[in-house]
């Protein structure tokens, strides 16, 4: 765990704490924080700022009946929300996305596989499986992309990314991640826009694979 070297930038942690981060990125940040004590501490510091602001907020009187109504409900039965625990390489927030199931890999060619966990107009979250030495097709980004390594590692023009490392790339970054030798690289990739591949064939395949 101490080997994590690529962390969540402060502004993104603050946005996550405040709940203004798009859902796809929130999954990536919550997953990274699950693996990273450094960012958990930073997140809790941001929550402390939020708490101070809450404390200092001008009080607005609540209706007279609210307190009694709440006190009367304290003993009411309730169903706790399911808690998804870490399973192997997959942190709790990823298990929650998969609702406890195992990944359903779909082949993308050249040994690369993916499992799309969610995809809509606001972005997508997917798992990628990249065999050692294999490149993820070179792509540039329409928006922001976060890639969290869950197993193995990859390297690209910006550095090496091991388990727990989070790479954040925007449209200014054109990079070619290649899985390092050893175990296959498994990543969580979150984006707020559809990816645009540079190589011709992947671009034709893009609508087919929804990436």
């Amino acid at each position: 765990m101490s080997a994590i070297t690529h962390h969540v930038p402060d502004a993104i942690l603050a946005a996550y704490a405040a709940g203004s981060l798009p859902q796809a990125f929130a999954v990536a940040v919550a997953s990274h924080v699950s693996l990273c004590a450094h960012c958990r501490a930073a997140l809790e510091a941001h929550q402390a700022v939020g708490g101070v602001i809450l404390e200092d907020t001008k009080a607005v009187a609540v209706s007279a009946s609210l307190k009694d109504s709440i006190l009367a409900q304290l003993d009411a039965p309730f169903t706790p929300e399911p808690v998804y625990e870490r399973n192997g390489i997959f942190p709790g927030p990823v298990m929650e996305m998969m609702q406890g199931r195992a990944p359903r890999w779909k082949k993308l060619g050249m040994g690369v596989r993916q499992d799309i966990l969610s995809a809509d107009a606001h972005g997508s979250v997917r798992l990628l499986y990249i065999p050692p030495g294999q490149a993820v097709p070179d792509h540039s980004h329409n928006g922001l992309e976060m890639t969290l390594v869950l197993q193995g590692s990859f390297s690209d023009e910006t550095g090496r990314f091991g388990v727990g490392d989070l790479e954040i790339a925007d449209e200014t970054v054109e990079h070619t991640p290649v899985a390092d030798p050893g175990a296959a690289c498994v990543c969580l990739a979150a984006t707020d826009a559809k990816l645009r591949f540079n190589a011709l064939v992947p671009r034709l395949l893009q609508p087919l694979f929804r990436i």
Binding site: Q47, A48, V49, G51, K67
Partner: protein, 234 residues
């Protein structure tokens, strides 16, 4: 006053030994006892009492009474303190007063039901409630659950560490002072950011200046939190 320094090692500091569990149990739930006791803060015998801060905040005492004893009076006190602030906070975030009360109700019930998740070593009551309020707001707005980090699993025999709890309270007070010293326009941007009204791009461009002002305070808190977390996760 206890000085909190960067890199200060809680565990190896001979000044700070953990209090006996018996002391903690009575002191965390009994304000009367707490108010005139120095035993909460473990200290060297020769150290003057006046140098040691001995009291948890009311909010912490209430929250621990709710967590450990399911104390309804303490919960009512938490309600009186937080419900009107929560309502103001939620309305500021652009919610109608009617819906704000529904969210206040949800948040207060969550405080009662998830009280066992509250850990005063790592979070002030206000920070913990802030986080619950943000979750409820998002769950309602997006109709999907906000992804949350895994809960840390603590050692079952871990005893409360009063110095850590008080240290965190002290740092939060300093953070509060740092925020109060901001210019009104800076303060407004910070508020907007933590109310969830700014995107991460806006936070990184707009709040650079005021974030810088409070950064040293956050960093102090970080040192301490990081230390605590290391113990929990290794």
């Amino acid at each position: 006053m206890l000085q909190l320094q960067a890199g200060w090692d809680l565990k190896s500091d001979p000044l700070l030994r953990r209090p006996r569990k018996q002391d903690m149990l009575t002191q965390t739930i009994d304000r009367q006892n707490l108010a005139n006791s120095e035993k909460v803060m473990p200290r060297r015998e020769s150290e003057p009492v006046s140098q040691v801060k001995t009291e948890y905040s009311n909010e912490t005492i209430w929250m621990l009474a709710v967590r450990d004893n399911r104390d309804r009076d303490a919960f009512a006190a938490l309600f009186d303190h937080f419900a009107p602030r929560l309502k103001g906070f939620i309305i500021k975030g652009g919610v109608s007063p009617q819906q704000a009360e529904e969210i206040v109700q949800d948040v207060m019930l969550t405080i009662w039901r998830k009280a066992d998740m509250f850990d005063p070593h790592r979070a002030q009551v206000s920070a913990w409630i802030y986080q619950i309020a943000r979750n409820r707001r998002i769950d309602i707005a997006r109709k999907e659950n906000r992804p949350m980090p895994e809960a840390l699993k603590e050692e079952p025999e871990l005893e409360p560490d009063a110095s850590q709890i008080l240290g965190l309270e002290q740092e939060t007070t300093q953070l509060k002072q740092a925020l109060a010293s901001l210019k009104p326009e800076q303060r407004e941007v910070i508020e907007k950011a933590y109310l969830g009204e700014l995107t991460h791009q806006e936070i990184s461009t707009q709040t650079g200046l005021p974030l810088g002002t409070i950064k040293s305070r956050i960093r102090l808190g970080l040192q301490r939190l990081r230390h605590e977390l290391k113990d929990l996760t290794q």
